[in-house]
Symmetry: C2
Subunit: 388 residues, 2 copies
């Protein structure tokens, strides 16, 4: 008889509760029910044609071998040029590391900065994979409750209060998942100063950059060259299945990151890198911006519609494609409520508990990764559920 | 002033010495010198046409979204069918996990089996990324010197002697990198029995499966359903840059592996998965086998040629595309020797030190990932270097 044991870091990994929702949605769908998918963190659009064509061209040219671990030089240069074009910041292309998705980038940053038993500070609510990646790397994630008082973001005061002698890094995301709020530039500036004083490092997740609706978009690189800045071709560039992202690292860490990447990935997918070159072209931007405008329209519909239904949305979501709504007028157990909503009306949401524990049972997340038409129908269904 | 600190697990990661060789080769090449690349662990062939065409078709159909974390069901089923066709073993497709390369698979296995401070047993010499992935996961790798007495592989006796109360897993590779030797079925059977007695788990790396020249190929799955069996589309299937592999896991671990994969990768690259479907087709096998036969021809030329030059090759390499040669008739510092060989004759090899420390300075690795014609020229160059 073999021994069925499992590491503690795996057995204690928190599940995604939305997986139960997905399984239930699939079952209902197989029974012929219409499902309104507002749980999905992936744009409904397929990758735009010119990017797909660039992928096809790369394959026709048999670009099928390994690339350098940190990516093809022309893509690293194109990313640097993109920052210059979009934000007027100059970045040495050597600081740009191409990664297998933003997940790969986050692994590199955490491995490079943290040893087992040390900790990284994160917001609650926040994207669950961040704390889970920390956990599988034997890093402790200290989650800090945030509210609309700080735009659902960390600030210098919160970080100062939660800093311990084992803290090495602070991670923020702007726009944030699940709240869609931005981290104001001043707030990030203060955070950077504090973290520098504490001899730590900032990790800034900008994977929803470009999907910003009311405010001016910015990058942490305008503030500091000493942050780890993570980005992705998945969201604004619409390349989810290609598994490609990037990270800009402080100069000191270039060699270390290269060596870690050589070991844990070997290299990012080759065809995705060539396709990404086209994603960054100025000529591609107008199509991508049209899609961003479509997301804005959806938010502009969904946000007031949810408020009218009685959801409380404490900080206006200004980016990404999520609304994190307080549903305590209807329930104090959002997970059960979300399951009932799906069962009765076919609307799938993500329960708050997937994003942390702070007031999680009073919240759920709406993703507007469906057409306006579907969102309108879904709102009617939710209305019917509430009125029942 | 920011604080330039780095985690211990990163700063103590051993470098790849072959990177110095590569840098030197690049410099010489830019000076117009001809370089004979025998250091490269990647087939020289591009991906075969029908697989590339399948990738193009997938893109034309806009297969650009995320897939499930463990891969598209049809590919998991195709892998299971492949085992049945090739080895007459029946595997539940649920046990097949599609991964971003074998590196991804190894990360999943180690995270699932080992906590920080526990250890995995590995052979020395062995593939360096295995111990480095362990290290970045805060897992200790205990390397065990092996020789031709055990086919440069671990055996039950060696493992029994090195087992500690912190040991959770034993990793073997057949065929092996750097030695190209196989792990005889009986030897693996004994290993599995011992590891089961010790309440540990076996991780079997079969990424060079299919590239076996004299012996009958087999899979650990013929022996046990309780091993973690890692495979890849990179080597026999020639899909290196696509970053796609797979792992067959014992039934008990299916859910845990799925959850870890969701967190650390989200999903393997989509287009690579569709292309891999064609790689597994029976109709593709003849082209892949022709390439395998070409590798065999190269080995059949290179092995006696190196022996004639005075290299000692203690265990006949029967698979992969490597020869691990003892060069102590020429040097007791193979790294310096390899650098001189490159400098004087333009032949690039990998020094033994990249694969461990056991007699590493007396060994170097030859990769026969170049045409016979180039290998012949390289052998003449090495001859001239030795005779100088």
């Amino acid at each position: 008889m073999p021994s069925d044991f499992i590491s503690k870091r795996s057995s204690t990994l928190s599940p995604f509760y939305v997986m139960d929702i997905l399984a239930q949605a699939k079952k209902l769908s197989q029974q012929g029910r219409t499902i309104y998918h507002m749980e999905v963190g992936e744009p409904d659009f397929a990758t735009v044609e010119c990017i797909v064509d660039a992928g096809i061209d790369a394959l026709k040219q048999y670009k099928t071998h390994y690339t350098p671990a940190t990516g093809i030089p022309e893509l690293r240069e194109a990313v640097a040029e993109y920052y210059e074009r979009k934000f007027s910041v100059k970045i040495d292309p050597q600081r740009v590391v191409i990664t297998p998705g933003a997940s790969g980038a986050l692994q590199l940053a955490m491995i490079c900065l943290l040893d087992a038993g040390e900790n990284v500070l994160l917001s609650d609510p926040g994207y669950p994979c961040n704390r889970n990646i920390a956990q599988v790397l034997a890093v402790e994630s200290k989650t800090i409750p945030v509210s609309s008082l700080s735009n659902y973001q960390l600030d210098a005061d919160l970080v100062a209060r939660h800093w311990t002698d084992k803290t090495r890094a602070v991670m923020v995301a702007t726009p944030s998942n699940p709240t869609g709020t931005l981290l104001p530039e001043d707030q990030l500036k203060e955070l950077c100063q504090l973290v520098e004083q504490k001899n730590g490092r900032m990790i800034v997740d900008e994977i929803y950059q470009g999907l910003v609706y009311d405010a001016d978009d910015y990058t942490a690189l305008e503030i500091s060259n000493e942050c780890f800045v993570i980005n992705s071709f998945s969201k604004y560039f619409g390349m989810t299945g290609w598994r490609i992202g990037w990270m800009v690292v402080p100069e000191f860490y270039i060699d270390a990151i290269d060596r870690i990447a050589q070991n844990i990935f070997l290299a990012p997918p080759t065809v995705s890198q060539y396709a990404a070159l086209t994603a960054l072209k100025e000529s591609t931007q107008s199509v991508l911006d049209e899609r961003r405008d479509e997301f804005k329209k959806r938010r502009d519909f969904l946000l007031p519609a949810l408020e009218r239904l009685g959801f409380a949305i404490a900080a206006k979501p200004q980016g990404a494609f999520y609304i994190y709504a307080n549903c305590e007028s209807f329930t104090d157990d959002s997970f059960t409520w979300v399951k009932q909503l799906l069962d009765e009306q076919g609307v799938a949401l993500t329960p708050g508990i997937d994003f942390g524990s702070h007031l999680a049972n009073k919240h759920c997340r709406f993703a507007y990764t469906q057409s306006l038409e579907i969102l309108e129908q879904a709102v009617d269904k939710i209305d019917a559920f509430i009125q029942r």
